[in-house]
């Protein structure tokens, strides 16, 4: 395979002499079209075909070897499901909450970590560290820490006379607890994106503002915030997509429980797949796909609309 590729490359270059005239005449890119063949094939086989076949299979009741066409029944059943109503609500709560907190905290941390403070490099590593840890590991660790009777968190709260809640066992609280852990784990990435955004703001603006007598808050409000907008757009988009599709952390911490109280769409889909309801879970996946698209595409467009002008 590898040798095939390299011969393909050499012959490719040989067959299209890189004269400017020739290139502009045939196409605008630096590579010949058939260079896209192999990646296109891989993309087609592993992405396009499964995507479109899942649209088909969502209208059937199938197992690994047979399928029966049942029209919209799967969708009807999926939307009639109690777990789904909870799951849909939780998915939105989770996505909005995690992405909102990541924007606010990420920005705050980035401002802190780009200012002149002691041990800045070390603190940057500390903030980024949770991003490197495995999600499942984080989930299991926090499940132990959040145990209502034996966990470190409630023991610490108990030591100062506060009766800690059942972080993961209280049905009204579970999804928020998981979301907080998600923020703890993911805020490092948001911070790094913001740091990159902040250091690219020219210093001249701040100097000019200082000469004009602007306070720190004014500078943040009128210089940092608007000029960090591309970074904000990236953080919101990434964390919102991540939040809408989130599954691994929730599964490792609560498995959607207690009952269905912290189910999100992805965990509902997973449970249906696990139960062998392949058609139903495929329909669920299509619903999730549409939901993510409907929310994220307009949002991305809106966030980036000023960027090219």
């Amino acid at each position: 395979m590898a040798s095939n590729l390299s011969t393909a490359e050499t012959t490719g270059i040989a067959s299209t002499p890189p004269t400017p005239k020739n290139r502009t005449k045939r196409h605008k890119g630096p590579y010949p079209y058939w260079f896209y063949l192999v990646p296109g094939l891989i993309y087609g086989v592993f992405f396009v075909v499964p995507t479109f076949s899942s649209f088909y299979y969502s209208f059937t009741r199938w197992d690994l070897f047979t399928s029966t066409w049942i029209g919209l029944d799967n969708y009807q059943q999926f939307f009639a499901e109690q777990a789904l109503v909870i799951g849909l609500r939780n998915t939105l709560i989770y996505a909005v909450m995690t992405s909102g907190l990541k924007v606010v905290l990420g920005m705050a941390l980035a401002v802190l970590l780009t200012s002149k403070i002691i041990a800045r490099g070390y603190l940057r590593s500390v903030v980024f560290f949770p991003v490197l840890v495995s999600v499942i590991g984080v989930g299991l660790t926090f499940t132990v820490l959040m145990n209502p009777e034996k966990g470190l968190i409630n023991n610490a709260l108990g030591a100062v006379g506060v009766a800690g809640p059942g972080w993961l066992t209280n049905p009204h609280l579970a999804i928020y607890s998981v979301a907080l852990v998600d923020v703890w784990k993911g805020v490092g990435l948001a911070t790094v994106i913001y740091i990159a955004g902040l250091v690219s703001i020219p210093h001249d603006y701040y100097e000019a503002a200082r000469v004009d007598g602007a306070s720190s808050w004014d500078m943040f409000r009128h210089i940092t915030l608007p000029l960090a907008k591309p970074a904000t757009a990236s953080v919101i988009t990434l964390s919102l997509i991540g939040g809408l599709r989130s599954f691994d952390l929730i599964w490792s911490m609560t498995k959607g429980g207690p009952g269905f109280a912290s189910d999100v769409i992805a965990s509902v889909i997973y449970k249906q797949y696990q139960a062998g309801f392949f058609g139903l879970s495929t329909a669920g996946s299509v619903v999730l796909f549409v939901l993510v698209t409907v929310i994220v595409v307009p949002l991305t467009w809106w966030l980036n609309r000023g960027e090219t002008t």
């Binding site: 992405f47 009777e149 049905p171 207690p258 009952g259 696990q274 139960a275 062998g276 058609g279």
Partner: protein
């Protein structure tokens, strides 16, 4: 979308392993004198499988059985179904009987074993639940166990309590236990499956009142929500919860916590599978004599009896095992049904009920739970759980019972939710009367 591509990958991967493992098997390095045996990978199952293999190899010189392991639960289900469908299964494997067996499509995938010498020395309930369309597919391995209430014997003695024969007596006992400052009923939702016992373990009482429930239920006519006897399991759970009888940490405790609590007398009663008592010596050493077992009581003392699991699993031979390997595989299963095989098996898994092969006898020093369970079997007061009588069991029952136990929904709502869950399972299986 993600699931769709996952499934496609799975099929692809299965096809790949199908080729490679098939060609490996075909080379037949050790001739017909070697077979492979696929066992679940939990500690007890592996220990039992190893002991059984060692005893078999000792009794048959020159024969080797290679142990393979698989995960339990839904992952194991998928693995077995995929390997059976691709003709890539081990020569002998362990899998559930009852409702899950029919999902393996035994007629196309498994070798019938009716003609085997042990076939008329097996427990009748086990035979029924290992038979599909009149053909017996499963060989007996290990012991049966019950679903009921593990109770702390010293507490019952101290408070002069009788084993309850009706639900009212159970609630009276619980009230007395609570008065004495002890947790009456242990619940452990840290492991959600443990929450199902109030419903699953109540089936003996359902059938006592509605004898054809399993048949009507499979046909889609009887529902949990419209059959008071069936809904009673959900109701009982809510009653115990509303009375404040649960342990304080019920929402996060695990199975081990629960077994330990009932063994040490922290809690008096723990609705559970009898098989779970096998763990007592690990979590509370020396306390296994303190724990007894009784059936979940229903309305009527006269029909009191236990819901039982006639083996969670049986031994099967796939159609892909042929020739010398087939006869050796049959020999292996026959050996597991003898006293020697039974004795070897319980070295790994302490028995909590009678053997499934009636040719085997329990040793004298078995646990109190095993003795109590056997008494129900001997007196004929035992009914297999619904999952052995009907191919449909809703996969979300454990979440629904947690909802009832934590007060998120009422018993009645829980029963109705479970009926919806069951409907999906029945439709996926393509049963008549459910479209």
């Amino acid at each position: 979308m993600r699931v769709g591509s996952l499934a496609a990958l799975l099929v692809g991967a299965a096809a790949l392993t199908g080729c490679s493992a098939g060609s490996l098997g075909g080379s037949g390095a050790s001739g017909g004198k070697a077979i492979t045996f696929l066992s679940p990978n939990d500690d007890a199952a592996v220990a039992s499988a190893k002991a059984l293999i060692a005893a078999f190899e000792k009794a048959n010189k020159g024969v080797t059985v290679k142990l393979e392991q698989r995960p339990g639960g839904s992952d194991g289900d998928n693995l077995i179904k995929t390997r059976l469908s691709t003709g890539d299964m081990d020569n002998v494997f362990v899998y559930n009987n009852g409702s899950l067996l029919s999902a393996l499509k035994p007629a196309t995938n498994l070798t019938p074993l009716d003609d085997q010498p042990w076939a008329d020395h097996i427990d009748k309930l086990f035979a029924d639940s290992s038979t599909v369309d009149g053909k017996l597919y499963g060989g007996p391995v290990g012991t049966a166990f019950g679903g009921g209430v593990l109770y702390n014997i010293p507490i019952y003695k101290k408070l002069h309590l009788q084993i309850p024969k009706t639900w009212d007596q159970f609630m009276q006992n619980s009230a007395a236990i609570k008065k004495a400052g002890i947790v009456p009923v242990e619940q452990t939702y840290g492991e959600t499956w443990t929450s199902q016992l109030f419903v699953l373990g109540d089936y003996h009482n359902v059938q006592a009142q509605v004898p054809d429930f399993a048949k009507q239920y499979t046909a889609g006519k009887a529902k949990y929500a419209n059959t008071p006897a069936a809904e009673a399991g959900f109701q009982h759970m809510q009653e115990v919860k509303d009375a404040g009888y649960f342990n304080k940490d019920f929402a996060s405790a695990t199975l081990n916590d629960g077994v330990k609590a009932v063994a040490t007398g922290e809690a008096a009663q723990y609705p559970q599978l009898g098989g779970s008592a096998a763990g007592i010596d690990t979590v509370a050493p020396g306390k296994s004599k303190d724990v007894g077992f009784f059936a979940l009581p229903g309305e009527d003392a006269a029909s009191n009896g236990m819901t039982v699991w006639p083996g969670t699993s049986a031994l099967y031979i796939p159609k892909s095992t042929e020739g010398d390997k087939l006869s050796l595989a049959k020999k292996f299963i026959a050996f597991a049904a003898t006293q020697k095989g039974c004795d070897a098996y319980i070295k790994g898994t302490p028995p909590q009920g009678p053997f499934l092969s009636t040719a085997c006898k329990l040793p004298a020093d078995v646990s109190q739970v095993a003795k109590d369970t056997q008494a129900y079997f001997k007196s004929g007061k035992a009914t297999p759980a619904l999952e052995f009588l009907s191919p449909i069991k809703g996969p979300a029952l454990e979440q629904i019972t947690v909802q009832v136990g934590t007060g998120q929904v009422s018993a009645q709502e829980g029963a109705a939710l479970y009926d919806e869950d069951v409907k999906k399972q029945a439709q996926q299986l393509g049963l008549p009367g459910w479209s």
